[in-house]
Amino acid sequence: MHFLESYVSKNEILRYLKGGNGQVNQFISEEANDQIHALIDSQLIESFNLISPKSVTRRFNLKRHDGVIELLDQTDQCIGLIYSNDLLKFLKGAHEVVLGALTLGSEISKRIEKKMLIKPSEGIVLNACASVIADAYADYLQNELLSDLADEAIYTSQRYSPGYGDLALTAQETFSNLLEMRKRIGVYLTEQYQMLPEKSITFIIGLSHRPFQSEIRTCGTNCQDCKLIKCAYRRTNV
């Protein structure tokens, strides 16, 4: 069994497969239901054979200013800036942050592209599986981080990513430099700061001596309730 399997939610995959209309499929026939589940199962097996998960995380001290966060190295010199008021609010109370990047590798993206050409019905499902596995991997890394910090009596925030709220995708450049993403996990940025291989995630997690009380929702399922109005991933027609 793959170490990420227990982190994967099949309901999450089904959510991706409802398509543009996003209706709850209460009218689905038993036959169609069995068929979709069988399809997901087969593509999940294929996904786990194709992925090679890699990640890099690093801890930084931080200094706050109006609208900008300074990331500091071990000698407290500034080595990177992140511009975002929403992130500043989100990180309220944090004394340190962890920057992280993960990827599932290029094989799975290649296979999705190939399937979209010869068998799109499977391609769509494989794509959904990969997206959900990437999120699952982020959950896994967050759990690892929690257990690493167990001795330090430190609380962690939720994950926050470039593209959420007013944290522009340009921040990817800072992640890429400080995490050496190209060299360590083989992730490149496009001109517009999207990541290649596609199934990759960057994130920031706050560390604090007190529990986080952030009201800002960070991604997942419910865009309508989310306060991050300018989010790059916001779905308006859900």
């Binding site: 089904l14 497969l17 409802k18 398509g19 543009g20 209309n21 209706q23 709850v24 499929n25 209460q26 009218f27 689905i28 169609a32 979709i36 090679s52 890699k54 995380t57 690093r58 801890r59 930084f60 190295d73 071990q74 010199q77 080595i79 990177g80 290029s106 094989e107 290649k110 999705i112 592209e113 190939k114 979209m116 050409l117 010869i118 799109p120 019905s121 391609g123 769509i124 499902v125 794509n127 995708l169 430099n177 400080l178 190209r182 060299k183 996990i185 083989g186 490149y188 496009t190 001109e191 517009q192 999207q194 290649l196 596609e198 790059a232 991933y233 916001r234 779905r235 308006t236 027609n237």
Partner: protein, 824 residues
């Protein structure tokens, strides 16, 4: 210093390379994220000190601090190159003064990846990258570097480009190394064999690994590489697997273990050892000590005892010819194929790629690629076809053309070691094709014909084969890179000469020692039941020593001939592959056509399920197949239907009716998206049959109207757009799919050229909705009368209106409704 003397120096003794620069600079005080290469100018004393430490520890090679320097990143790259060389020179001078040593020291020009992805994965143009690498080499050579070392490459395509570019400085010796993962592949999926085969004949002085991980993890890869190449090996591992403490990677080395592993590397036959990340003077000192002891014990690096083999490779898969029978898939060749000709003319690369993928699934080990039709720019098209195909199929390609320009276009952009098809005994052809084979380190297929045509006798054909092999060798092409096609003649016209072909195969194989290839199906031309003759001829040819038939892998009896031969010739030891293939099949099924099998299978399932109302007419059966998403029966049912009604009627009365029904169920939430698409796939399969029939009868195609689709500029997410494409094609629309990340100008251009009335634009992110707005504005400004439909996760009716679109579609079925409204 010439290439030859460098090569000799490298082969004389095992050599000590140097340690890491980047991690040593961080220890000196360089900030994380800062460029190491800048330090040659900003803090030259650091760089000099690091070089000197390595020299004092016993290094024979100084790798100058130029890893990240290139003309794409720095306009003033020459300044950084010169500063880095100067640091090395100063370090060597200081070392000589302090130690009094006259040790021979080689200065290596360090070249890393450019930092951007090459097209089509990224945007970096191949020729731009080529120029960049070439300019670094020219400058480094004029500064007096002794050789170039290419390091930390993970994309074989970029590395091959770099090696070819460095080849433009003919005297510059080149060492090429890559970084691997513990999976035995690079980030880009290249394995050790493909790396060795692809780079093996490109004139390198040495090949190897660097970075990645520690010496222990690298050992198995080194062992593998030694068995794959006759080039000297250079290995520069990290100082172990780092622990990240605060932000710094900390390497801890157990030096006793390290020494043992070093010894093992020498035993395997490595010619040069250095260190990457985390390796400092202590590591170099250890390497020096172990190598000295090893030499003192009377050892020297082993010359390669590799048996030369005929091998080709893609970036992720290598194929050896001359062991198991290798199938070269012949179907990407427009001769006699109207549908493929049409696809080539319309630049429908998807069709060509599908033909490739299918052949691989049917058992092709290599794919022949011939796109020669009149009135096209064949070289440009070959380049595009190769770029597209290699993204989707992992088997090596055989670049097939009568034009040397086209051959070069194909092999230049190929990511691997291709097989060139072909050269022959004509002087002009030998002189134009063989230099290409040599330059790109490829294999070549030689045809036994010359200025006088195909000789009837075996003796004359053998003479031509011999001439080709000898001429290739005169060009410096190793014999094992030459294959010979003795040319199949038709039994109906030249019955007596069929055996002459086989006799030539036997002699070429035995006397010239090269592998043989034959296009088998020509033999039966003009006779009935061709498959029977083809099958027997193939079996005979295999017995005479044929290594690689060029054939259609869809023909089950031909595959059966190969599989049975491999058992009887003791190639399939233990009959493993044979049992795997046929263990549970009856001989009748193997020999029957594939489609008949499928139909038979389908009816059997229906019967066994005891379907309540047996579906009697092919019309009902096709409707049922579309609704249930059963692709396999679609083609045969459509062929049956074509004998009963015209194509247009099949579309209107059967396909559209069934699709509408499926679309409704999707809208009601009774099925999921993949199930809608499964039905679309059935229709796609039916359409291929209809298109083929129409192409052959010369009738006008089914075309309800033309639509341009694109994912807008800066957006690389195109799954949604692809779904819309499939569904629109299902309804008989002709879709011009411009792909993803498409500039507004390109969309306007496509609309003008094709008199387009409907444009579909897709965007997944709010950041790229701006590109959508820009595209719509440009379409309006250009005065085109087009309706713009927009869609994608972040779009809504409201946003669509704001950015000036005519329609918002929430899903693919809605795009169809809109298209019907506008185009009918």
């Amino acid at each position: 210093m010439s290439k030859i003397s460098f090569n000799n120096w490298l082969r004389e003794k095992a050599r000590v390379f140097d340690g890491a620069m980047g991690s040593a600079l961080i220890e000196k005080g360089m900030k994380l994220g800062e460029g190491s290469e800048l330090q040659s100018v900003q803090n030259p004393s650091w760089v000099i000190a690091i070089h000197k430490d390595h020299l004092m520890a016993g290094a024979e090679v100084i790798t100058i601090n130029t890893f990240g320097v290139n003309p794409i990143r720095y306009d003033n790259y020459k300044t950084y190159l010169a500063a880095a060389k100067s640091c090395a020179d100063q370090a060597i001078k200081a070392f000589r003064e302090e130690s009094g040593s006259d040790r021979v020291i080689k200065v290596a020009l360090d070249i890393g990846p450019l930092g951007e992805l090459l097209y089509p994965l990224g945007k970096l143009d191949y020729e731009t990258a080529f120029e960049a690498f070439k300019n670094i080499a020219v400058e480094g050579w004029s500064l007096g570097c002794d050789f170039a070392i290419l390091e930390t490459f993970t994309d074989l395509y970029e590395l091959r480009c770099a090696v070819l570019a460095l080849g433009e400085v003919p005297e510059l010796p080149i060492v090429a190394t890559m970084s691997f993962e513990t999976t035995g592949r690079t980030f880009f999926g290249t394995d050790v064999e493909s790396m060795a085969v692809t780079l093996g004949d490109l004139g390198l002085s040495a090949i190897g690994f660097n970075c990645s991980f520690g010496i222990a993890e690298m050992l198995p890869l080194v062992e593998k590489l030694k068995n794959e190449t006759y080039l000297p090996l250079i290995v520069q591992p990290n100082a172990g697997i780092p622990e990240i403490i605060a932000q710094i990677a900390v390497y801890k080395t157990d030096f006793d273990q390290y020494a043992k592993h070093l010894y093992k590397l020498l035993e395997i036959g490595v010619s040069g050892i250095g260190g990457c990340c985390g390796s400092g003077a202590m590591h170099i000192e250890k390497i020096r000590k172990v190598i000295d002891q090893w030499h003192e014990a009377g050892n020297l690096p082993l010359p390669s005892n590799l048996v030369y083999k005929t091998r080709v490779a893609s970036a992720s898969k290598s194929v050896t010819i001359g062991e198991n029978i290798v199938i070269i898939g012949e179907r990407i060749n427009p001769t006699g194929k109207k549908r493929l000709k049409e696809a080539i003319r319309n630049l429908e690369f998807d069709y060509i790629v599908k033909e490739g993928i299918l052949q691989v699934e049917q058992g092709a080990d290599i794919l022949d690629v011939n796109i020669g039709i009149p009135e096209i720019d064949e070289a440009d098209l070959m380049k595009k076809a190769v770029l597209k195909l290699q993204g989707f199929v992992d088997v090596p390609l055989q670049i097939d053309s009568a034009s040397a320009t086209t051959l070069e276009a194909g092999v230049r952009y190929y990511n691997g070691k291709p097989l060139i098809n072909s050269v022959n005994g004509k002087e002009e052809v030998l002189n134009s094709v063989l230099p290409i084979v040599k330059k790109y380190g490829a294999c070549v297929l030689g045809l036994t014909l010359d200025e006088n045509g195909i000789p009837a006798s075996s003796i004359e054909r053998f003479e031509i084969a011999k001439k080709i092999v000898e001429r290739a060798e005169a060009y410096g092409i190793p014999r094992h890179n030459v294959l010979i096609d003795c040319l199949t003649l038709t039994a109906s016209a030249q019955q007596a000469e069929v055996v002459a072909t086989l006799e030539t195969v036997r002699r070429v194989k035995q006397e010239l020692g090269v592998c043989t290839v034959l296009g088998v199906s020509n033999v039966s031309f003009g006779l009935p039941a061709r498959e029977l003759l083809n099958q027997s001829f193939l079996t005979m040819a295999l017995a005479y020593g044929l290594d690689a038939p060029i054939m259609n892998p869809a023909h089950a009896p031909m595959i059966a001939a190969i599989k049975t031969f491999e058992v009887l010739a003791n190639k399939d030891v233990g009959s493993k592959r044979y049992i795997e293939a046929y263990g549970e099949t009856s001989p009748q099924l193997i020999l029957a056509s594939k489609e008949a099998q499928i139909i038979q299978g389908a009816t059997q399932t229906l019967d066994s399920k005891g379907s309540a109302t047996p579906l009697e007419t092919p019309k009902d059966q096709l409707i049922d197949a579309i609704k249930k998403g059963q692709t396999t029966v679609a083609a045969e049912l459509t062929r049956k239907l074509l004998t009963l009604m015209p194509a247009v009627k099949i579309v209107d009365e059967i396909i559209i009716t069934a699709l509408d029904d499926v679309g409704k169920r999707y809208e009601k939430g009774q099925i999921y998206l993949p199930q809608l698409i499964q039905s679309a796939e059935v229709v796609q399969a039916a359409f291929e049959v209809l298109k083929l029939a129409l192409a052959e009868s010369g009738e006008k195609g089914i075309n309800k109207g033309k639509i341009v689709l694109a994912t807008v500029k800066h957006d690389i997410h195109d799954i949604g757009k692809n779904i819309v494409k499939v569904v629109l094609e299902n309804y008989g629309y002709e879709v011009f799919d411009l792909g993803r990340d498409v500039a507004p100008e390109k969309i306007v251009e496509a609309c003008k050229q094709n008199a387009i009335k409907v444009v579909g634009l897709s965007a997944l992110m709010t950041t790229t909705v701006a590109s959508m707005r820009e595209t719509i504005a440009l379409l309006r400004a250009s005065g085109l009368e087009v309706s713009v439909v927009v869609g994608g996760a972040v779009l809504s009716e409201e946003i669509a209106e704001q950015i000036g679109a005519d329609f918002f579609a929430k899903d693919a079925t809605e795009v169809v409704r809109i298209a019907e409204k506008i185009l009918g």
